[in-house]
Assembly symmetry: C2
Homo-oligomer: 406 residues x 2
């Protein structure tokens, strides 16, 4: 008998009708002869509603009590889903993160999984039951209820799939899989049949919002095959697995991200240690720097540019201005109107020329490239935010991403 772990997000269980539809799908999976473990998020926007309630009570609610509060959300969705499964004639038991043995560290609100002690889950499976587990939550080594941050229900599913040695882990969501580009921008965007963990990680890091990076990392580390698919259409979606198991294509997709801002220090006298000085100061204020680029001109003056989340724009500008002053730099330029466009593909490693084609394509559209960064399977360009959709469409077409590889 194979074991399938299925994870359903908040929109998939948003109301009684949706919960019944999910139960129906779970029961069908069961009746095709699989053992089934279901991981479920809180219904619709219920976590946000609980947080709002907390906000009415306290400006700075203690983290332990916030975790106690929001963990109620999955308790509700998981027990309702079990009721719906029983109603269709199959036995089911729900387990909180604690009951399912999701043991975490003691960091409330963004706990890390330390260990899975899934004895109660295994026992229930052996009794022939469908098991429903609360996503997003666990129990700390100090026996406190913890939560693991936004999107952590995926992580619960992957971790359980790894611990139970499941045959696959299906992530049901409100999109039909992973696309070659955002379909809202590129109508010809094509759903990928499969891509490698590393490609998915690069996509997650550059604006693809389908799966959170840490779930993909966990899946890669424990070799858990992921199947991302829609709970609205029930059609096959996109597999995420080992590179060797994925049919080779040069490129998997083009992503974009408008969530970052850029700061440039212009005309810094080029001396050892200036970059260290600046980025230590930014790190001390928890500014999460992403891309960094430094150019030294023949005059001996350097320009340093870096990107980071827009929310940190004022703190990053303030710190950079202080340091620029100390270093005798000419000036500091902040810029919130940037976007990053990235090409991702494991096949890039063996196909030189992708970068050149990318730059030519953007140039032909009149886009100025302000920064470039690369990894073995990714090329990213920073451009004007206003140009991002045009750039994404041009690249998608230039690399013929709308056509499946032969």
């Amino acid at each position: 008998m194979t074991l399938v772990v299925q994870k359903y997000g908040g929109t998939s269980v948003a109301d009684a009708d949706r919960i019944r539809a999910v139960a129906d799908h779970v029961v069908r999976t069961r009746r095709r002869g699989h053992d089934v473990v279901v991981v479920v998020s809180a219904m619709g926007r219920s976590t946000d509603e609980l947080l709002q309630l907390a906000g009415q009570i306290s400006a700075e609610p203690p983290a332990r009590e916030l975790d106690m509060l929001v963990s109620a959300g999955e308790r509700i969705s998981m027990s309702l889903l079990c009721m719906a499964i029983w109603d269709l004639g199959e036995p089911a038991s729900s387990f909180t993160g604690s009951q399912a043995g999701i043991v975490t560290d003691t960091t409330h609100g963004k706990a890390k999984i330390l260990e899975i002690r899934a004895d109660r889950v295994t026992e229930a499976l052996e009794q022939g039951k469908i098991v429903v587990v609360a996503g997003f939550q666990g129990v700390s080594t100090e026996k406190e209820v913890t939560t693991m941050g936004r999107g952590a229900s995926d992580l619960t599913a992957v971790a359980l799939a790894a611990a139970l040695d499941a045959d696959m882990c299906e992530i049901y969501t409100d999109v039909a899989g992973v696309y070659t580009a955002d379909p809202r921008i590129v109508p010809e965007a094509r759903r990928l049949k499969a891509l490698a963990y590393e490609e998915m990680l690069e996509m997650a890091a550059t604006g693809g919002r389908v799966l959170a990076a840490r779930s993909v990392e966990y899946a890669r580390n424990f070799d858990v095959a992921l199947h991302v698919r829609s709970s609205f259409t029930w059609e096959p979606g996109t597999w995420v697995k080992k590179e060797e198991e994925v049919e080779k294509a040069i490129l998997s997709g083009v992503t974009h991200d408008t969530s970052e801002a850029k700061v440039t220090v212009v005309g810094v006298p080029d001396k050892p240690g200036i970059a260290a000085r600046l980025f230590r100061a930014l790190a001390d204020e928890a500014v999460n720097v992403d891309m960094i680029e430094q150019n030294v001109s023949v005059t001996g003056l350097a320009d340093i540019s870096f990107t980071f989340p827009k929310a940190d724009l004022s703190v990053a500008t303030r710190i950079t201005e202080q340091i620029a002053d100390e270093l005798g730099a000419a000036r500091v330029v902040s810029d919130a109107d940037i976007a990053r466009i990235s090409l991702i593909g494991a096949g890039m490693k063996s196909h030189p020329g992708v970068a050149a084609t990318m730059f030519e394509t953007l140039a032909a559209e009149g886009l100025n490239i302000e920064m470039i960064s690369t990894s073995p399977i990714r090329i990213s360009c920073v451009v004007r935010a206003a140009d991002v959709e045009k750039g994404v469409r041009a690249l998608h077409s230039a690399f013929e991403l709308d056509t499946a590889p032969a």
Copy 2:
């Protein structure tokens, strides 16, 4: 240092403002030098809303999952209350029934407390924290989440007070205490300063809805002094304690109850075992019979009347008609329009004549007494439902219950 257990019902924590008001009161209690354990119900009507959601999913939801579902309600209220307490500058920790060591049997939906293992509560108190515990819920000997039925948050509070050897147990509710009669019917009804456990039990059994009988029994068995009071006025309310500790009055109050119906079997040939036959058949169908009265006339024919919850009227009538047929009784009369009026007072034991005065008072008002039942500290009369308010007012006045005993 004294230890106070305070219990707040659903209306006391119905919204963010009410929760903040409760936190303020809890913190004041703490700052007067008490250790405080708070037991809290789910917010307002949230338990009903969760049950409604379950009803949309399944006509017969499994009991285990129902308990998992509704236990989310206290999880929400208790964590919010802790946040509000922290916000006022005092440390607080919330504990689910399971974490607080409320160990129950395995009867989902109406579990019985077997044991209290309050180690985590004690530890938190020793750390100087205010402890907030979820009412109504526990963990079974099989490690399953259980709930203990409507009104069981009082029971949680009393059981914790007993286990922790608390100095008092305050039950905060939406009424200001226990009254000599229902103030909606008798405007002159007076709040009692104190009454004995036994009197409170008789009141609970005859229509007084302030405290559930099993909480009072638990308090009596473990000698926990209860203080019933309002979370809206914060005024002193009514103490419930040992009879020896309560100032003697002949009567404590008059209660009424219109929730029962009556069935009478007329003209049963009087043979040994007829009552046994009838009430066994009713018990087998789970009809919860309250008062029973049997009269044998000189003709050798008996009349048997009994009362029971109105919801059981059709099943009780059906069973009684079957048995009446077998026994050769003349006929069966069902009656849903009855009410019971009861006088309650521990002083009754040493004051003969209360019953006579009661019957005279009702007669003077033109009320026909259809059944009578007594205990050492209670006299109940069944009358027409339409007459109940008139009867209660007349008795309240005849026994001068509006005047505190000298």
